[in-house]
Each structure stands twice: as C-alpha cells, then as structure tokens.
Amino acid sequence: MSDLYSTLEVSRDASAEDIKRAYRKLAKKLHPDLNPGDKTVEQRFKEINHAYALLSDPEKRKRYDAGEIDDSGQERPSRGFYRSYADAGMGAKYHGFDAEAAEDIFSDLFGGFGRSRRAGGGRTPHQRGADVSYSVHIDFLEAAKGARKRIQLADGKTVDVTVPPGTRDRQTLRLKGQGLPGLGGAGAGDAYVEVHIEPHRFFTRKDSDIHLELPVALNEAVLGATISVPTIEGPVSMKVPSGANSGTTLRLKGRGALDQKSGERGDQYVKLKVVLPDQPDAELQRFMESWAKEHAYDPRKKAGLV
C-alpha cells in the first residue's frame, strides 16, 4: 500500500498549491499519450491521478490524513488513451505530417514511397511492391504476328510473356504482379518489359504497314506478270501490271501488321525494282539496238536532270 503523498512526491504538509504543481509536473512527464510505447507509465499515471483526485479535495484529504479513508479510494474507471488508437492505426487522419517527414528520409529508397501520399488524406497502411523494368529482344516477325516469349526475371523466376500481334518497337508490356513483393501484405509491383524489335532482312515496318522492295525481271515489268510476294503471313500472289517500273509501288491491302488501336491490319507496300539479267546476252543486246532506233527516250530529261 503506497502513500498518496509519496506518489505525488510531496511532503505531508504540502500546500494545495504545491500538490497541484507536483501533479502537473508528473502528469506532463507521465501522461501515456505523451509516452507512446512505454507500458509502465500508464499505471504510474493512474496512481498519480488517483492520488491527486483525493488530495486535491480538502475534505477527502483531511479524512485521509486522519486515517478515516485509505488510499484505495474511488478509482476512475479505466479508459482508452489516445495512443492506443493512434498506434492501432486509428486516427490516421491526424497523422498526415509523417508523409512529408518520411519523404525526405526515404525519397531515395523504394522509389520514394512517401510521394503518393498527401498530408491530411490519411495514409495507406500497406505498401505495394516496387515496379521493375526489363527489356527483351524479339524477332521482327514475332512482333508483327505475336508470340510468346520466355524471359528471366531478376529473382531468377522465368515468366512467359505474351507479345501481342502488332507490337511496336520500344513498346512496353506490363506484367501485373511480377514486380517486387509488397510490404505488410500489400500486392506485388508490376514488371515492365520493353520490347526491342530486331530488323528484318527485307521487311521494314512503319506503324502497321509493312514495306518491301521487290526485284522483278525486265520481262515481268514490261509485259506484266503474276508473281509470288512474301508477306508476314507467308507468300501471296500479286499481279504486276504491264509497264510497271522501278519505283512503282503496289499495295496489298490488309497484309500488314495488326494496328493495336483500331484492331485492323495495315497494308503491305511492294516497291518494284526492275533487275536486268546478271549477264545481258547477245540476243537482248541486238534487240535493244534495233528497238532503240525507233523508240529512243530520255528518262533524264523527263526527270528534269538535263
């Protein structure tokens, strides 16, 4: 059984003013809300509260001094202190300041996780994992037609990435939940995969259109022909009109790559290039000589070069 005077750290002949001053001094030191995490202060605070409640009442103090009442007295009902709510995650609306306080400390860690939170708006107790970035090189045709690629992540895990048809160079694919694990049970971040498309031997791509330079024989150009043309989906036949020239561009509608926005396929543009036989033979030379006598033409003049 403790003595109420010693609880308040005052002598038995202390004045009412002394008792009040002593109580205030102790309350400032021992209030549980001013000492979060310290379990011992709560009991001490209850004791000084109780001692002060009794000793600050002149009538009760007189009876206590006379031994008429003991120091067990009437205790205040137990109550919840603010700290128990604050530490339990309640009252988060009051704790906006830490977002900024933590931001300067943590801004260079975890991608600056304080950034998304604003003061006054409360805070999210869980923190999503950080996003990670990778790059993957894929073949021209795989990008155009779509493919599944297996890539290895930083933690050694391999994942299958679906490269959708019509994927563009440097397009970023998102792998949801494949980033770093979250904190406190929050979800993992995402992995971002940047696609680098390797150039093709003869196809080039502009948006969803495929471009191809196609050699044709002299006779095919002059007389016209139906020839086989490679496309990303395999060869198709194409009609070359008679009189086609080097530089003539023919369009194969709908034979390009998929346009991911519109969902429609682009076109393939075939630019013709007239190619003479490797070794012009005597017959061709003789024919040309006689032909030129009647049909001489000056393409340089027509092009304005002379």
Binding site: G37, A86, Y94, F97, D98, A101
Partner: protein
C-alpha cells in the same frame, strides 16, 4: 465501431471523471484539433476522436497547457505517432526479408544505434 454525437461524447467523457463542456469540444473542432465526421449538420466522433478530446482536456486542465501551446503539442504528437506507424511498417517489412538480409539489417542498426 460506435460513433458518438456531440452530446454523447461529452457525456461519455464526463463518465470517465474528466470535466468538459460541450462548448469546449465545439471549439476543439472549430480549431481542427479534433476532426469528427460531419454529417447532416451534426458531428460524429469515433473512439479515437474521443480519446483525443480527453488528451486535450488533460493537457489544458491537468498539465496547465494554454490554448496557444495545444496545437503545437498536437502537431508534434501527430508527427510522433505517424513516425511510429512508419517504423512499424518498416519492422513488418524487415520481418518479411530473407534471414540473411535481416541479419545484415540488424547488424547495421546495432552498429549505428549502439545497442
């Protein structure tokens, strides 16, 4: 989670032996020391709001803190509790690390905190 009206929160605090007037609680709210839910023209206090009112009452009455100093103390306390929560999250994050990472982390902390 029960919510208290203004009248109810004053009554509940008085029941716990603290002296408080309704106008005092209203002035706490007006100064944004306490931020209750505001609906249909009335205030609704949760348990944390109630405990915060009790803390303010004790600061002013038991500790003789004047009204100019109350917001300074609340502001610092709010930062303290916010930092405690951040520390708690970091502790949880550290617990989820692989054991050798955790060891390295603890060694580093013991080194700088001198425990």
């Amino acid at each position: 989670m029960p919510l208290f009206s203004l009248v109810e929160v004053v009554a509940a605090i008085r029941e716990e032996g603290l002296q408080v007037q309704q106008v005092e609680v209203e002035s706490f709210v007006q100064q944004s020391w306490v931020i209750p839910l505001r609906e249909e023209g009335g205030y609704f206090f949760d348990e944390a709001d109630k405990a915060r009112i009790e803390l303010i009452v004790e600061l002013r009455c038991d500790m003789a803190v004047n009204d100019e100093a109350v917001p300074v103390i609340l502001n610092l306390l709010d930062q303290l509790y916010g930092l405690r929560r951040t520390l708690g999250e970091i502790r949880e994050a550290v617990r989820e690390l692989p054991p050798d990472w955790r060891d390295a982390f603890e060694k580093r902390l013991v080194g700088s905190l001198g425990e």
